[in-house]
């Protein structure tokens, strides 16, 4: 049975009850849209409360296992889940708070906030799940609200198109994920993740190709959400078409959830299969990085640049996963970069949202001279871009540094590790090309005028929080890295790959 006081259950109850409460409140409303601010406030409150619960649990001194792999239940209260929950909750909080400004002129707030909360529950449960069925349910709980959210601008055909593409892909990959789970179930007879991993490692050699088929399908299914090549094609369209705050949720939240699921299932699982699967991941990583960065280079629309940039960033994170069995801190570095990227990308998208609200534009031309017209937004956006590029002393630098370091480190065991690192470094340099281009447009070119625009308050608040996060954890990255190392069991990797 699920312990009702375990973290995931508590968080689900908190967020779920508010998520269900909001539409009820809305239905009771005599007048349309009367209480919109209330919805925003209580969503924020619920998310904040959930975050406090998660953080409290980590520091409450209880010995939480790194990954509760021996759990026979469906969700395990471990630090891995807690780490991802913190990331998801931070992103959701940022989205909710910035939506206060973003949604001002739009309708149907109750559904919006409720869907965000539901999606967050899904994401968090993905981090905590130890059973395939649970993983599927959580995955769908995360995805389905986002299909609706992506189409939220009912009057905008672009938003609709974005959502259709997203939906078709999403539905297909859900089916593929279930297929993969089915195959694993068929091979091992159990739906518990760890049990199936153990069983897979002792598989009849004839059946190994099927195991690999399952792994390939998992990569495809989760890779869709993570935006890996060649499963990424929906991403640029959807991130740029969806309402910008929703794009934030997608880019920073659901993408990371994909990684959470991938690490639990694929990485840990494939280690058990003890086959040269890491090379596949490395190839995918290189293609992902390169295509992401190249695609962004000549774009004219900011959300689209950010979308391609997200693809590239997923590639960097994948490097860490690819070298995980061969390096002490590959997975730690990936987790660190996941947390950092969540905040950096949110900051970037939300800054773009701010510009859309104030200047009603999202093309690069509109960003000219932003340094004068919206100084705070421009400044934080610039910092976020520099952080994404990996410029010290911002937080993104440490994530990339450690990932590339792990890749080079793994060169002792495998020949392609350092090449991955070199590819990563070259890609980082390439990405600076378009990041710096945007910054240049903002600061060194003249816009329509120099009049200081009023920047939306809640967006400024979120951006300042992100700014503090990026700078403080850029200088003092220790706590995040410690949390990441606690979340991943180091000895387990060596234990299994020693087989």
């Amino acid at each position: 049975m699920i312990d009702i006081f375990s973290t995931p259950a508590l968080v689900t109850i908190i967020l779920g009850s508010v998520a269900l409460l909001i539409p009820i409140l809305d239905a009771l409303n005599k007048e349309r849209g009367a209480k919109n601010k209330v919805y925003s406030a209580i969503s924020f409150g619920a998310l904040a409360l959930a975050l406090i619960v998660v953080i409290y649990r980590i520091f409450s001194g209880e010995n939480l296992p790194a990954m509760s792999l021996t759990n026979t239940g469906v969700i395990g209260d471990d630090i891995f889940g807690a780490f991802f929950s913190i990331a998801f909750l931070i992103v959701s909080i940022m989205v909710t708070v910035s939506s206060w400004s973003y949604m001002k002129k739009r309708s149907n707030h109750a559904a919006y906030y409720s869907l965000i909360l539901l999606s967050s529950i899904g994401m968090i449960l993905i981090g905590y799940s130890t059973d395939f069925v649970m993983l599927l349910v959580a995955w769908e709980l995360m995805s389905i609200p986002t299909y609706a959210l992506a189409a939220f601008n009912k009057k905008d055909p672009i938003s609709n198109e974005a959502s259709i593409k997203y939906f078709l892909f999403g539905a297909l990959s859900s089916a593929i994920i279930v297929l993969a789970m089915g195959i694993v179930y068929g091979l091992t007879g159990t739906t518990n993740i760890y049990d199936s991993i153990v069983a897979m490692s002792q598989l009849n050699p004839d059946l190994i190709p099927f195991g690999l088929l399952a792994v390939g399908l998992f990569i495809a299914g989760f890779g869709f959400k993570m935006g890996l090549v060649p499963f990424h094609m929906w991403l640029p369209d959807t991130y740029s078409g969806a309402p910008t705050t929703v794009a934030t949720l997608l880019a920073a939240g659901t993408k990371k959830a994909g990684f959470a699921a991938a690490i639990r299932v694929i990485v840990i699982g494939m280690i058990a299969l003890n086959v040269h699967w890491t090379f596949t991941l490395a190839i995918i990583a290189i293609f992902t990085m390169t295509l992401g960065n190249l695609g962004a280079l000549t774009q004219k629309s900011i959300p689209r640049i950010l979308a391609y940039s997200s693809i590239a960033q997923a590639g960097y994170i994948l490097i860490g996963l690819a070298v995980a069995p061969y390096s002490d801190y590959g997975l730690d570095a990936s987790l660190l970069q996941i947390m950092n990227h969540a905040v950096m990308k949110s900051a970037a998208f939300i800054a773009a949202a701010g510009v859309i609200i104030t200047l009603a534009g999202y093309t690069l031309e509109k960003y000219k001279g932003l340094g004068f017209r919206m100084p705070i937004t421009a400044f934080v956006f610039a910092i976020a871009l520099l952080a994404l590029a990996g410029v010290p002393p911002l937080s993104g630098f440490w994530g990339k540094y450690l990932i590339f370091g792990a890749a080079i480190d793994s060169g002792q065991t495998i020949w392609w590790g350092p090449y991955l690192a070199i590819a990563g470094i070259l890609n980082s340099a390439l990405s600076l090309g378009y990041y710096a281009w945007i910054i240049r447009k903002m600061y060194m070119e003249e816009g329509e005028n120099r009049v200081r625009q009023k920047e939306p308050k809640s967006i400024v608040a979120v951006l300042l929080f992100a700014l503090g996060f990026m700078i403080i954890f850029g200088i003092w990255y220790g706590p995040l890295l410690d949390l990441a190392s606690m979340a991943v069991p180091n000895d387990l990797i060596h234990l299994i790959s020693a087989k």
Partner: protein, 100 residues
């Protein structure tokens, strides 16, 4: 005929039909049919394995999967209805505003 492995072959055929439908057909509703086809084929796979093993977990899994597919398609259909309002057409090759 009732060998579980037969079900697997049927499932594979159904999946292939589904993929064919996804890639070739242009009507959005047909795409949703194809996806549903694939989902149901997968359910079939699960039940086949459940029969083979024998273990009831597969069938429980299928119940979940059916419910979830239903929810998913509901949302998807809603989106397509809105799309219809814009384009008066559900030919997905018409939805080409976002590219490059």
């Amino acid at each position: 005929m009732n060998q579980p492995t037969d079900f697997l072959y049927i499932a594979i055929i159904l999946i292939s039909i589904g993929i064919y439908g996804l890639v070739v057909k242009r009507n959005a509703l047909r795409l949703i049919f194809s996806i549903e086809l694939i989902a149901n084929a997968v359910n079939l796979v699960l039940i086949a394995f459940s029969r083979m093993l024998p273990s009831p977990q597969g069938q429980v899994f299928v119940l979940f999967s059916i419910a979830i597919s239903a929810a998913e398609v509901a949302v998807g259909l809603g989106i397509i209805i809105i799309a219809y309002r814009f384009y008066k057409d559900i030919d997905i090759t018409e939805y080409k505003n976002l590219k490059n």
